[in-house]
Symmetry: C2
Subunit: 331 residues, 2 copies
């Protein structure tokens, strides 16, 4: 059993994308465990980085504004670190189709640069990479386990697949220890909700908070699994602290739920809101993956991870957070 | 049943990497079928492009020296073409580990550029992409079919995997018809044999022709499947001409044979040569994949493809070719 305090107390940690949604929640948690944190983030507009995400702790972390595409900065920043939580990425599927080159630069080239930097300047580091269920594409069967073929349906999924495999490769060939977590839909405080190009859940929550109408594409029966961000943070910490996780890929996952059920729950929690079924816009339909939910039994077996926060409780906390700090996330 | 003359007579065809090994053999064959051919090749030293490969036909093809990384050239060159045989690539596994960025540029970014060019300037074209069995990494089982998980063991394998999936994606999302062939070890006339960083078979053949000693790593029992280049060319033509192949990935493959058997056969055909078992050099061992041979039953079922040239006959023809034209390939 991993002892997280022991693993992180006094340890040097870099979080790429650390001003973003999951990265900043990770920073808050790591601070409480006594880690020394460097946040690396480029604050690219629209990507999810938000200085308010470290409000309250910004004097206790070092914030280094830099782009992971910048090799020289990364060469310097990885030195002497114990852990790198590698969450910087372009995460919008839609944007990846509009501008595949930028997605390539960030999700492929930057990952290579980071790994080369570690290989040459800090081969002792442990890296945990934020991958995505998008690498699976349209599921051949459900729930999707790690034996499922990878056949991504958008540029983002392809590039994240490559980025993930660079990590596994550098683990296997150069001994730069790395673990990849294939995240499913994560939600919670500090998520980007400025626009709707980063998945449905943040946008649904925003509409609920605003008491507006939630549009659900199709008949609303599409199933997804959602993880509350604290559970995802916990998964990152376990993966980082465990030697058994080195060179491994793990699915996260949770209870399957339909989009309609999510919308109903949100309307229950924020009664001024409502929902409506609308036809699929063609550009979304083309890259839609139908039902998806993951099998996380490998994660449970190897790392004793299981999601702890039920959907209703998680959504409640999230809505409360945004009601309170709306001005910092809406714009 | 596909009629190749009908499919290619008078048709406009681009072959990227067309001065290389497989590309040039494809050009010779397509000429005989009456196609109008543009060869696009950048003649990067060490990559396989060789002007002698089009000796005898160079006045009947258009040779356009350009790099597939050059977006503007590609935007122009794809226009009005009926078929693109997309063979340009960095193919050395060893080189991809030494310089992962160049491999990324050529095997990922250039593929995106080509596909974007087709999407915008020639969405009617049909593309056949040269992928590789390297995307599978160390086999989980043998023979390897297309349902086998992809877990490449070198940067080249990862980037080729991404390049392949871009093609499938553009087929599925934008209707730019594309097929990917996962090649195994191809051998035959016009192969690069200047250095030993592009797979064992070309190098073994060179040593055999020179009457030198062939070094086999390990105990020589590692199995591979080899395809004579004419069979591979045939596969490309069938894939291009078949609508059923659109959006599909196919393994090529052949009879499994041990490296020791290959060496023995070569020594039989070139009796001054000899062979010797030597320990694995560490940098090769780290990215070695053990036994590999592919299951090509999908290719047989959908495209009626089957290798026609037995190993002995293919090696005989190849040795004869190099004896005759040695000066153009040795350097």
């Amino acid at each position: 059993m991993v002892n997280l305090e022991e693993s992180f107390m006094g340890k040097k940690v870099v979080i790429t994308g650390g001003l973003g949604f999951i990265g900043s929640n990770l920073a808050h948690k790591l601070l409480s465990l006594g880690a020394n944190i460097v946040i690396v983030d480029s604050l690219i507009p629209d990507y999810g980085g938000n200085l308010f995400n470290v409000e309250g702790v910004k004097d206790r972390v070092r914030i280094n504004i830099a782009d992971v595409r910048d090799r020289n900065s990364m060469d310097y920043l990885v030195r002497g670190q114990d852990y790198i939580f590698n969450l910087a990425g372009q995460v919008s599927h839609i944007d990846s189709m509009r501008d595949p080159y930028t997605d390539l630069e960030i999700n492929c080239r930057s990952q290579l640069s980071l790994l080369e930097a570690c290989r040459h300047h800090n081969p002792e580091v442990k890296i945990v990479f934020a991958s995505t269920r998008q690498v699976y594409g349209v599921p051949d069967y459900l729930p999707v386990d790690e034996q499922h073929l990878l056949h991504p349906t958008d540029v983002n999924g392809i590039n994240k697949m490559a980025g993930e495999w660079y990590h596994i490769l550098y683990n296997n060939v150069y001994g730069v220890r790395a673990t990849s977590l294939r995240l499913t839909n994560t939600y919670g405080p500090r998520q980007l909700v400025k626009h709707n190009r980063q998945g449905f859940i943040g946008w649904f929550i925003r509409l609920a908070v605003d008491g507006e109408e939630i549009s659900i594409y199709g008949d609303g029966t599409q199933k997804r699994d959602l993880n509350y961000v604290d559970d995802v943070v916990h998964a990152f910490l376990l993966a980082a602290a465990s030697e058994e996780a080195n060179g491994q890929v793990f699915n996260l996952g949770g209870e399957p739920v339909s989009l309609l059920e999510v919308a109903k729950l949100l309307v229950e929690l924020s009664p001024q809101a409502s929902y409506r079924l609308v036809p699929f816009p063609p550009e979304k339909k083309r890259i839609d993956i139908g039902d998806y939910y993951g099998d996380y039994s490998k994660m449970r077996a190897v790392l004793s991870w299981e999601p702890q926060v039920p959907l209703r409780a998680g959504l409640e906390r999230t809505i409360e957070f945004y009601r309170r700090y709306k001005e910092h996330y809406w714009e």
